[in-house]
Symmetry: C5
Subunit: 337 residues, 5 copies
């Protein structure tokens, strides 16, 4: 039996703790897990971060996990789901973090947490995310009575923790959409606006991809036949489901608004095109009409009395200006200029 000090899991092992009747009894080495797990009054909580396949398989043996679930967890890149393997559950969650890109704009980083839950253990395996579950563990240690709800409650707390972090992400998208809407009618259409609408859509769909399958999965943890582990905590899962349904509803709403915004943008571009053509035509008239007059008096006919008038030239200039003023006023009235 190895001691924690010599275990090779140093970097990937975040914590490995045994609880007894809700109280933490010890940080235990991974190799001892199987011992504690078989004591009915014990609860073992192990948290890993990006373990190698070998490391994961060693732990899997300690907990006696199902081959397929372990394969999913070692590969990562699963879609959110909650599966029953006998009496235990295997859940895949996708936490989402807002991160700043190099050019200062917001981007999302979608991580993955694989959770194995049995009657008296929880094993979490984090991939590609800094978001841990320290808060959940702290709460459990602070309020040991929560563990009396059983392992189902721990699963609930983990899912709830992940779902709660979707709200600021959604808020960010709503804020960006509102900003884009304010812009929409305020100024001329531009590539930038369309690019922003497109970017919001992309982020929204990434979020939807994360929320929808999880909602579907959580919906099977309350009402009707539910896994044994979740039987005492159905109301809690219904609550999480409700949060997911709310997020999903808002996603749908933003999605439809975006579609409309893109269509409306197209119409605004058409109107803008119209206006430019009209203004172009109006100014064109203001230039070409005097040019015609100048052309007329540039003709070389012998007999053109106006040419001999001493006020001929000023008169011509005046008539050009007068016609342009009249045209200008007319175009102004019909709003072509």
């Amino acid at each position: 039996m190895m001691t924690a000090a010599t275990t090779p899991f140093r970097t990937m092992l975040v914590s490995c703790v045994a609880y007894e009747e809700g109280r933490k009894i010890a940080d235990i080495p991974v190799a001892d897990v199987s011992e504690y797990v078989h004591r009915p009054d014990c609860f073992v909580w192990v948290a890993l971060f990006e373990p190698t396949q070998a490391e994961l398989e060693e732990i899997a043996q300690e907990f006696d996990l199902h081959e397929l679930a372990v394969e999913d967890a070692s590969k990562g890149h699963q879609r959110p789901k909650i599966e029953e393997y006998g009496d235990s559950l295997f859940a895949v969650l996708h936490p989402v973090e807002i991160v700043k890109t190099e050019d200062g704009s917001d981007d999302f980083r979608i991580g993955e947490v694989d959770v194995f839950v049995g009657t008296n253990y929880v094993l979490t395996v984090r991939h590609r995310t800094q978001l841990g579950f320290a808060a959940v563990r702290a709460r459990t240690e602070r309020e040991p009575e929560l563990l009396r709800h059983g392992a189902g409650f721990v699963l609930y707390a983990l899912i709830d923790n992940v779902v709660d972090r979707y709200f600021p992400v959604l808020d960010l998208l709503e804020t960006r959409l509102e900003a884009a809407e304010d812009e929409l009618f305020a100024s001329a259409s531009s590539r930038g606006k369309i690019e922003e609408l497109y970017a919001i859509k992309r982020h929204l769909m990434a979020l939807k991809h994360v929320v929808s399958p999880l909602m579907e999965a959580v919906g099977k943890l309350y009402g009707g036949r539910v896994p044994h582990l979740c039987q005492g905590t159905q109301e809690y899962f219904r609550d999480v489901y409700d949060h997911l349904a709310r997020i999903n509803g808002t996603i749908e709403s933003i999605r439809e608004t975006l579609t409309t915004a893109i269509q409306v943008n197209l119409a605004l571009i058409g109107i803008s095109d119209n206006e430019v053509t009209k203004r172009f035509a109006a100014w064109g008239a203001l230039i070409t009409v005097p040019t015609l007059i100048a052309g007329i008096y540039g003709m070389n006919f012998k007999h053109m009395p106006e040419l001999d008038w001493s006020i001929g030239y000023p008169l011509a200039i005046f008539s050009m200006i007068a016609i342009d003023v009249l045209l200008y006023l007319r175009f102004k009235r019909v709003k072509w200029i």
Copy 2:
């Protein structure tokens, strides 16, 4: 036991009344609620307005409400839903008010009412809305026999009251859509029209967001397995459901009409663009053709017999006018001008 006079709930407590066999027996202090609630012949009705978390929790203890429901109610911003917690129900309703914005246009204010219903109590918690349930309470006091239907009937009356207020909101949207449609074909396309279509769409979706989840929730209160509280009032809930289905159908219909209107608007903008280009081309011809003639007679060839004719100049001017008249008539005929 505190008296009503010294309770700190003054501002948030709208009313707290006990009924016995359908008749109001007293305004009671909140701290007495638990006593009255345990008397089977009693019915307690409490209405709160934006309580603090502490205030809400105190009342929750009097009624022995479920932690999750209380958390939802204290946070607000839930989506419409109706949940069973054991024998009691927790409902979230979203009343909608039409309010005038500063620039005189109509806007909606979406509030929230959380309702806790047990065998012999109702607790309503209002957020962000001035719309109260005085009418419902008055009716109950006027027709005490309604309470014989049990607490389910009170829940029905509250929901019905909220749903009835959706109709004028929907009517407003329909009226605005009809006005927008009349405009659509009547005059030139403009940013204003598109902005109005977009605004109607936004309001419509806000309403849909409020109606759809409630419809889904109410649909579970009649037919099949229904919560114990609602068993004697299924026909009433079916009636509310039907109203919600009607609203929902109309929303869908407006939504599709809006989509079509936006598409049609795009086509009209295209046609308008076409017309402007044609008119531009026609007037351009009326100017450039005489300019060409003037240019010809502005050439400096030695041998241009027309230049020496005494009627050369008038003839040139006449031919310009004649050509323009012909062109004008032709353009008129093909409707380019």
Copy 3:
């Protein structure tokens, strides 16, 4: 007991007839209804037209109708539905009439018929429609054996009558769509065409609004658990359902065709825009190129040998014409003109 002669229901009462073993026995006064209804061998058929609330309530008492159904019937503006109240059924139907508007175009008038059906009575309440059920009643009196199927058969006959009247409405829409399609590719795009497509869409959706909920409701009257009243006539309701499904399928089909037609119209407008721009450009070249030549020979250089040639002027004019002819042929070949 009032006699029929003195009843105040004169204007709203269309008929009130009692049948015995399929044969009409008497026109009876409304106040006698409750007597006849309680005779098991009797069947009472009452038809009302836009009764006042008071009138309706009086009759409701005779038949002992459910408060909620009566409220729906007195308010009108319900969506199509069929509801069970104990052993009786309450159906809302929307007959559609084609009416001519003042400017000669076709419009639809959507009425409402509320039907109360019990074991041995039928009560119809018409709103906003001239279409009565004389044909149904006549058939029932002509073939009394039909009544042996029970009240469910009468309900079927009424629904079938309403549904049969949807077909000419649908045919009218199909005819108008076909006319619009023929126009689509035949001539230039215009506001009128788009307006027609939009109008068809609006009418179509009004019809859909009437057909879909009814189809859904009728679908519950055969197969699985059906109301007691309809148990002997399931095959008839399936037949009506099938007609509604056919109408609904055609509506969906027209709807999709309309969407495509509007999109196609947009493309045609774009092509037309393209063509106008090309023609504009071609004619512009035919004018501006000679203008350039004229401009060149209008220059005042001392040494321009062509100016002194005696054939200089005709040559210039000829070259202008020659260039224009060449350009014209070229534009003709690429179909810009």
Copy 4:
């Protein structure tokens, strides 16, 4: 009892044959049908083509068919369906034929076949189609053992025959779509292309209208509760269902491709518009810039040294050409020309 020779069904009666233990025993007159149908070892097969209502009703009596089914069959214009009437089945099938229109393009003719199937009879009624079931009957006579599967097998064979004929129709639409796609990017957008896309869409929807309801109906003939007649042939109906599902999947796929093609076409038209405008602008510059130079040297200032230079004129002409060449190369480089 009439003999076949004197029966008035001459034109509409295609065949009326009795089989015994799978072997054809006789062509029988219609009036004898009821006799043969009541012999349990007999199987009667009647095929009609567009009978009058009277003719149909006479046969209906021989077979004792349900009034509603007969009404449907005499009216025609039903949507595809399969209905149970007691122990017998009533099916409506829509065979589709490819026909050449006068201008050489392909069109579809959608017929209708109403099939009545009982334990030991099949009655087919064809409307508006030349496609008969000679092949099905021939196969049955050739392989009499097939009849041992019972009447359900005959129904299967008829449906399978109709469904098999949908494949060439679908192939034709796919071929036309592929040709339209090849065209899409190959040459300029034109009314013809759009018209073709629209025509394919229309045909596709007609086919969908025929396939979808039939698929839904056949789906009820295997798995779960199935009509008595089809119990031994469920695997055959599942096979037909699978063919219909495949057709339906392809229809959906073509439909979505068409929608995309129309949208893409719109984008291509926009790009084409762009290109025309650019080319127009470029050629405009090539004409107007020399015109400006000519205008400058057409000015009448006393002191314009260039005018007196002997190389002034050639220089001016040369500068015009040089500028145009430079402009041309520049426009060429940015692909405006």
Copy 5:
């Protein structure tokens, strides 16, 4: 009994192997299959490649396969499905290969594999694909204990093998979409971009056509009633289902992104059109305004004092340049140039 050496199945027979208790015992001739299949401890694995109908039928007799399944397999061109025939299963799978077209772009080749699975045999029939199942067979021979899961496990392994090959196909489409998105906002809209979006859409739909029906079919192999053969391997099929659901979700996501990209492209084309028109108008003004000035001083009035000024000509030229500079700066400021 024929020996393997003289069998006519040479080209189409890929392998025909008998296993006993998980160990390979012999390559057997096809004609011996029926013998081995009837030994309960034996497992026969036959792989065919594009057999003729006659060859297929001969083998079908050895295995006693159902006529309809054999017909499907000999025809090919089925949609993906899994069907029960008594105790055996018939599955149609569509492997997808990425192949290079002649012009170097990627294309997909969609093959077909028909799989017949019984209690102790597997028969695979490949059409139009080079992708074999050597890997699956090798694994089975390497880990004979896998065969203890029964034939259901072999079916799982085959499906899993096919599904795993969809991921690189999907990745290729995602990569191409991302490249197309990067292009979208980077440079001007062009036919090439649209053609690429269209091509991705087409490939995507081909993949969807392959994935969706298979997902539906696999979904019936776990949970609820499952075929006898798959009862011990439900968790494996759930795992494959999950992979298919993930692929399907990504397909939906790409599909929606493509739709948005095409719409956005349309808007970008509109904006580009706008910009070209503006630039055209601006440069037009820079040319026509000096032309007007030149025209004015080209008039032939006797009394035009400027003409006699010695600085008249330079002044005119200067004013032309000055105006153009001012216009240029102004257009620059409003971004028309």
